[in-house]
């Protein structure tokens, strides 16, 4: 099994290589020119040309890629064109907020989505089932920022229960940290929750129709015990898979949520960098985020193998 895992790990390297080159290539066909923005309001074409040379923008494409890849391997993600700060510093400054938001959202989604899915599967085809599934699909279909504005309006502006915006680092205390993340996390979790509920329901339905479940009921075990200890355990595998897939959804939602709630996260960092054509930052963040995504999928695959003794690659 270690061999399997090792092989999977090796397979991720070419994938990341493709991501890296794709990201780099993408940004260099751009018509926008960071040299012009950096050069300032009074720059002459000479100034701009000099800045381009200094940034290495005039080198042939392949050379630029090579230089960049070389630095990445050494852990140097480059320097932001605009702030002059190292990209790794900028990423570090923003990671806590995004991780906090994403984990919190995932917790809520799983914590609410799984029970909802189980409930819907248990009461299949009843009104409860339909309502739960309708709620799930609606969550899936609503624009994240719309929901965000709605929640802010109700809970922050009208009722003053929660803050309107902003972020408190964990270092300032656990409660302030959580308090500022509640509304954004709930907003973000709704989409994910819907997916998890649907997946759980589908998976549970599959398991519930199996013979061993019927046996368990025949034995007289309490329904709750059957549901949770026997059915859910076996149904959890696909749910674990969806957690991996859902991560990409969460990142997308996080980008928009961070914008609405003014959270200093990686999503906003990327959007700002994209607008300003701050190449090093865009490349660095997309690389890091994709890397994390690939890693999560790897972990999910491994978990899959570990959890289900029947599967061998």
């Amino acid at each position: 099994m270690i061999g399997q895992i090792g092989r999977r790990l090796m397979a991720t390297i070419p994938v990341m290589g493709v991501v890296a080159i794709a990201v780099f290539a993408l940004l260099h066909i751009t018509p926008g020119d960071p040299a012009v923005i950096i050069a300032g309001d009074y720059a002459t074409s000479d100034d701009i040309a000099r800045i381009r040379a200094k940034l290495g923008l005039n080198e042939p494409f392949v050379t630029q890629v090579g230089i960049w890849l070389g630095r990445i391997v050494r852990g140097d993600l480059g320097t932001s064109i605009f702030s002059g700060l190292p990209v790794s510093t900028l990423i570090r400054q923003r990671t806590e907020a995004t991780i906090g938001l994403t984990l919190f959202a995932m917790l809520i989604s799983v914590g609410v989505g799984v029970p909802l899915g189980v409930l819907a599967a248990w009461k299949k085809a009843s009104l409860v089932d339909r309502l739960v599934m309708l709620f799930a699909v609606s969550g899936f279909s609503m624009p994240v920022f719309w929901l965000g504005f709605l929640l802010v309006y109700v809970f922050a502006i009208s009722m003053h229960w929660l803050p309107v915006q902003g972020y408190r680092p964990l270092a300032d205390g656990v409660w302030p940290f959580l308090r500022h993340l509640i509304l954004p996390a709930v907003t973000l979790s709704v989409v994910y929750m819907a997916l998890i509920a649907r997946m759980t329901r589908a998976s549970m339905l599959g398991v519930l129709s199996e013979d061993f479940i019927r046996t368990a009921f025949a034995k007289g075990l309490a329904p709750r015990r059957v549901l949770i200890h026997h059915a859910l355990k076996n149904a959890s595998l696909p749910v674990v898979t969806i957690i991996g897939i859902g991560f990409a959804l969460l990142i997308g939602g996080a980008v928009v949520t961070e914008s609405v709630f003014a959270l200093p996260g990686l999503g906003r960092l990327t959007v700002d960098a994209i607008i300003r054509r701050d190449y090093p930052v865009i490349q660095g963040v997309i690389l890091v985020v994709s890397g994390v995504y690939v890693l999560i999928n790897l972990v999910v695959d491994v978990l899959y193998v570990v959890l289900d003794p029947r599967i061998r690659y």
């Binding site: 701009i48 702030s83 923003r94 803050p163 915006q165 914008s259 003014a262």
Partner: protein
């Protein structure tokens, strides 16, 4: 109609100004300490004061740097870092002596050499600075506290240059940093101002942090504009960048921030009704909106086509769309702003769409698409762009309205290429009054062609007139020359002004000591 709105406007601005200053008790009665949370109008990107004219950089620099002279609320130049000065030989030789006790943030004393180097660096980029440099024979430090400036030709704006309030401001920095060539940005942020920049806590796109400079020795006079005693009451100032305007307003109302620099006018009107919040006018002199054509590329390389733009504009329509609330704006044909010392109606025209159509035809316009840059993230310019599209189409232009964000406009406006290859034909922008108030500072009336501000008009006559103005010694002569300049500027259509307005600022009533000045002032304020 214009008259009515003008009275309303000035009354409004005055009323607000009165209320704001009424909230300013004697400085020593204000509470000391605390952290101010401020929402700036943009994200701070560039730290070098001569590198960009962006106001956000200027505002940042006002916190950590100091200036030799400043401009007070009545547009008078007063000394700040300078203690005594004198001019001899009919204004051809000037001598300046610095105040005692000025220190850099790293503990070193401020010396005259620092001032000299800073002025030299500034004058390489700033238009007024360049004008000063062109008239200067020699500028040098005499000893640790004194430096002299000798002119080669008469120049009536020496103090105005050294005390220039807005972009670019001649901030003073250590000589070794000022020695950085003007083709590179400075790397250190050491100043002698009332606050220090906490670089470790700077998170671009999110927050900027400043702390009180305990070594700062303020002057003894009352603060006014960028002059007077900069006595700091706060311990920390945190700039929180909140790009979403509704979120920022809600944060102000919830007390999560103390001062919101530029709420949109609609939001400001709503905030006026909030009993915990004060809405004031940051700079009663106002802001001017521009429609700037590109003089290098067809069709606007033809004067008649440009004049078609001039005649199509109805300022009222622009202002309604761009700003929406009449009590904050007024129509104004004056290139040097209404309410300013050189206000004049010379050369101004009334809207005449038929004449515009005729002019366009006469120019031989070939119907090729005219690229209009529309920065949609700024409601002001977005509104102007939409109205322009409508009017230009009416007049007969084939309009290609391209939406983008402001940063992209900033990048694109520098391109002199044909529009089809990444250039542009029409852009919109705005300048605060201090930046357009007289011919010396006004970037838009430069006729220097390819080295002028984006748009690159070329006109030798206006350049001559500007030099005449700079050398004129009496007010009457200056006024007359300014009128002449406006006539040329409008006839050439260097740009079309689309109106004048004031921007509201909003802060919680727990903040006291608000001062009116184009940049937000953080000394003199305190949080209860």
């Amino acid at each position: 109609m214009a008259d009515l709105s003008r009275r309303h406007f000035i009354a409004g601005a005055a009323a607000v100004a009165a209320t704001a200053s009424a909230g300013l008790p004697a400085v020593h009665a204000q509470k000391r300490g605390g952290t101010m949370r401020f929402v700036p109008h943009a994200d701070l990107k560039v730290l070098d004061p001569i590198w960009t004219t962006a106001y956000i950089t200027r505002n940042h620099c006002y916190l950590i740097y100091d200036t030799l002279f400043g401009t007070d609320q009545n547009l008078q130049i007063k000394p700040q870092m300078v203690d005594k000065w004198s001019s001899a030989n009919k204004g051809m030789k000037w001598s300046f002596t610095l105040r005692d006790g000025l220190k850099w943030h790293d503990g070193q004393p401020v010396v005259a050499e620092d001032a000299v180097e800073s002025i030299k660096r500034w004058s390489k980029r700033d238009p007024l600075g360049k004008l000063l440099a062109a008239h200067t024979a020699r500028i040098a430090a005499q000893d640790k506290k004194t430096f002299t400036l000798e002119l080669a030709q008469p120049f009536g704006l020496v103090l105005e240059a050294l005390g220039k309030p807005s972009s670019n401001v001649p901030f003073v920095m250590p000589a070794r940093i000022a020695a950085t060539p003007d083709s590179e940005q400075i790397k250190e942020t050491i100043g002698s101002g009332p606050f220090r920049f906490v670089k470790d806590e700077w998170q671009p796109g999110n927050q900027v942090v400043y702390v009180r400079n305990p070594d700062y020795v303020p002057r003894n006079d009352a603060p006014s504009g960028s002059t007077g005693g900069k006595k700091v009451n706060l311990d920390r100032v945190v700039w929180k960048y909140i790009p979403d305007p509704a979120t920022a307003a809600a944060a102000l109302e919830a007390g999560e921030v103390d001062w919101y620099e530029q709420p949109s006018i609609d939001i400001a009107v709503r905030l006026e009704g909030n009993k915990d919040i004060m809405v004031a006018i940051q700079d009663p002199r106002g802001t001017q909106g521009w429609i700037r054509p590109n003089h290098l590329q067809p069709p606007f390389n033809n004067k008649k086509a440009r004049q078609a733009l001039l005649y199509m504009v109805d300022q009222e329509k622009y202002l309604q769309a761009a700003l929406g609330q009449p009590k904050y704006y007024r129509t104004c044909p004056a290139v040097f702003t209404c309410g300013g010392p050189f206000e004049t109606g010379a050369g101004a025209v009334k809207q005449d769409v038929n004449k515009a159509k005729q002019l366009l035809k006469d120019s031989g316009y070939d119907g090729k698409p005219v690229v209009v840059l529309d920065p949609t993230d700024i409601p002001l310019t977005h509104g102007a762009a939409l109205v322009s599209r409508e009017l230009m189409t009416q007049v007969g232009f084939n309009v290609d309205l391209q939406a983008m964000d402001w940063s992209t406009v900033v990048a694109r406006r520098a391109k002199k290429d044909p529009p089809a290859q990444g250039g542009w034909n029409v852009l919109f922008t705005w300048w605060i009054a201090s930046d357009v108030i007289n011919p010396a500072v006004h970037a838009g009336i430069s006729g220097a062609g390819s080295s002028a501000w984006f748009g690159w008009p070329e006109n030798g006559r206006i350049e001559e007139l500007k030099i005449q103005w700079a050398r004129a010694t009496d007010k009457a002569a200056q006024k007359q020359i300014a009128e002449e300049i406006q006539k040329v500027a409008l006839d050439e259509v260097m740009y079309v002004p689309f109106g004048q307005w004031v921007s509201p600022t909003a802060f919680r009533k727990s903040m006291q000591g608000f001062l009116q000045f184009p940049a937000p002032v953080f000394w003199s304020v305190s949080i209860a």
